[in-house]
């Protein structure tokens, strides 16, 4: 049964201290609003997982919410490093974090195995790399049908996945377009799923174009309508990435002290996404608006 709720309602119901949480997305549709709510909720000891931890994980780490990060590329996309992540790994500030590291293929293969209830996924990568020597989760298995060994990774089934999509009905049947990254596999692999969307639509809209459905409501526990909930990342067709914010983060995250100031202004200092958006201002949001460019409609036919 899917519950229609708010971001804070979903976070308090679904996520607890010590949980393994996957905030999904590849640069696109990043669940920033939910991430900020997790910081406000004061969650601790989280195991954060994502192929591409970016600003929202840097913010969660800086706020002291994480004790472990599983990842394959930890950076500020197109800008540089994640300073808070580096401080935690290099200097244990604000607290030491354990890391579990893969390549993109390795980590997305773990999710794929998790979503499909497989004991492991064989992958043609890691051979000749030093990565397997630093992980218990990258092992060789014998090919049961041939002579060669192949590397394999175990399934990943996060306690909670937080995913975003452009639109869904109130049961959580979700339409998603543009770069989909690992969003669908994260939703299908996790125990509990929070879906946050730009807009709620009628079920008829979803059923009019079933090929566009990334996953259905049976895999979703909480649905939230949170417009601009992915800012400063983007939602294809709704708003562009706010690149200024990525550059500002590179500055603001230089020291542990300056990070706290940023969190005070943009996370602790606002009580909801609405207040965050008011602080950003309409002008800034309007500048991120793309011109329309509709796909040609498909004819499903009436049968």
């Amino acid at each position: 049964m899917t519950t229609l709720t708010t971001t804070s309602g979903a976070v308090s119901e679904a996520i607890g201290d010590g949980d393994t949480v996957y905030l999904a997305g590849f640069t696109h549709l990043i669940p920033f609003a939910t991430g900020h709510e997790m910081i406000r909720a004061g969650l601790e000891d989280l195991h954060l997982v994502r192929a591409t931890p970016d600003l929202v994980y840097d913010q969660l780490i800086a706020a002291g919410c994480a004790s472990k990060v599983t990842f394959s590329w930890a950076g500020n996309p197109g800008v540089g490093s994640l300073q808070a992540f580096r401080r935690a790994v290099e200097d244990g500030v604000p607290n030491p974090i354990e890391i579990d590291e893969y390549s993109h293929y390795g980590l997305t293969a773990r999710l794929a195995a998790g979503a499909r209830n497989l004991p492991f996924m064989p992958v043609r990568t890691f051979e000749g790399s030093d990565l397997p020597a630093h992980s218990d989760n990258i092992r060789r298995v014998e090919d049961p049908f041939g002579d060669d060994d192949v590397y394999a990774v175990p399934p990943l089934n996060p306690d909670v996945a937080v995913v975003r999509a452009q639109r869904a009905d109130e049961n959580g049947n979700a339409h998603l377009w543009g770069i989909s990254g690992e969003i669908a596999d994260a939703a299908m692999a996790a125990e509990t799923v929070i879906l946050s969307v730009e807009e709620l639509v009628d079920e008829d809209v979803i059923r009019s174009d079933p090929n566009r459905t990334a996953f259905t409501g049976r895999d979703v526990d909480f649905v939230v309508e949170e417009p601009y909930g992915s800012h400063p990342s983007y939602a294809q067709g709704y708003y562009d990435r706010d690149n200024e914010a990525y550059l500002e983060w590179a500055e603001a995250s230089q020291t542990h002290e300056s990070v706290q100031e940023w969190l005070e202004t943009w996370v602790y200092g606002v009580d909801s996404r609405d207040e965050y958006l008011e602080r950003l201002g309409a002008k800034r949001l309007l500048e991120l608006q793309p011109k329309h460019d509709y796909a040609e409609p498909v004819d499903m036919g009436r049968y």
Binding site: W73, H104, V123, G128, S129, L131, E182
Partner: protein, 257 residues
């Protein structure tokens, strides 16, 4: 032909673009590789298929993407697939002819480090990590490595092998079942290629660069081709394309070098 003014970075972009063949399917990285691919597509390789590890197939970006997950890579692409499918059915299955890679360190065998400087468990510098680099280096038909030419970036041996080059030589690579291998290292001073053992040597020097300069900036006693020639310099058209269309704000090629 008249002499053209260009920066060291622009020379690197042009040299990298020329490594691409028309019709190649290329896995593009952000930054310099992105410029190189877009330049090649607008010059000698109009049929270049640009694939990004975010899952976009045959992207046709209207402007320079800010990252490899930029919306302009999805708009107007032929197809967009989930990450896992991009890595399995495209890269692993052999549908990618060439991959572009960079890294903090590249050694004489073309091994790449984008993981840590120093010890893994007590790193001096924690770098972003593999991303898709390890599987690109393992499964693309060939790889092109791009790096500024500095001694700290080109050590005899990398601190950590994130992405394999000719590990154990060309034979070692083949025995491990790895496809392809590095075809060239493109720097802002030279083009290096790999000999029959899989060791990098200097093939051509960019105009105005001396052998001594390259020796000083390389972390091992690097060999030079018997007749190390000059890299063909960029043309006025190539430089104009970079400055007027591809990187008009000088985000990647600026810096007044």
């Amino acid at each position: 032909m008249t002499d053209v003014d260009y920066t060291k970075t622009e020379a690197m972009v042009v040299a990298a673009a020329r490594e691409l063949r028309d019709g190649d399917s290329v896995l593009v990285g952000v930054g310099i590789p992105n410029l190189a691919c877009n330049l090649a597509k607008r010059t000698h390789a109009p049929e270049l298929e640009m694939v990004y590890e975010s899952g976009t197939i045959d992207s046709n970006p209207s402007k320079l993407p800010l990252s490899i997950g930029d919306p302009v890579l999805a708009s107007g692409a032929l197809r967009v697939v989930p990450m896992f499918e991009g890595f399995t059915t495209y890269l692993q299955a052999g549908r990618i002819d060439v991959g572009f890679l960079g890294g903090a360190q590249i050694d004489r065998w073309g091994n790449i480090n984008s993981t840590v400087i120093g010890d893994y468990d007590d790193p001096k510098v924690r770098l972003p990590g593999s991303g898709g680099a390890c599987e690109i280096a393992s499964n693309a038909g060939r790889t092109i490595i791009i790096t500024p030419h500095e001694e700290r970036r080109l050590p005899a041996e990398v601190d950590f092998v994130t992405s394999p080059g000719y590990v154990g030589g060309r034979e070692g690579r083949e025995e491990r079942g790895l496809r392809g291998g590095p075809a060239a290292i493109i720097t802002d001073k030279a083009v290096l290629r790999f000999d029959e053992n899989g060791e990098a040597y200097v093939d051509t020097l960019h105009p105005g660069v001396t052998e001594a300069e390259v020796r000083d900036a390389t972390g091992w006693d690097v060999a030079f081709a018997d007749e190390a020639t000059e890299t063909t310099p960029p043309t006025a058209d190539e430089i104009a394309l970079i400055r007027e269309e591809l990187d008009p704000n000088g985000v990647y090629t600026g810096g007044g070098e």
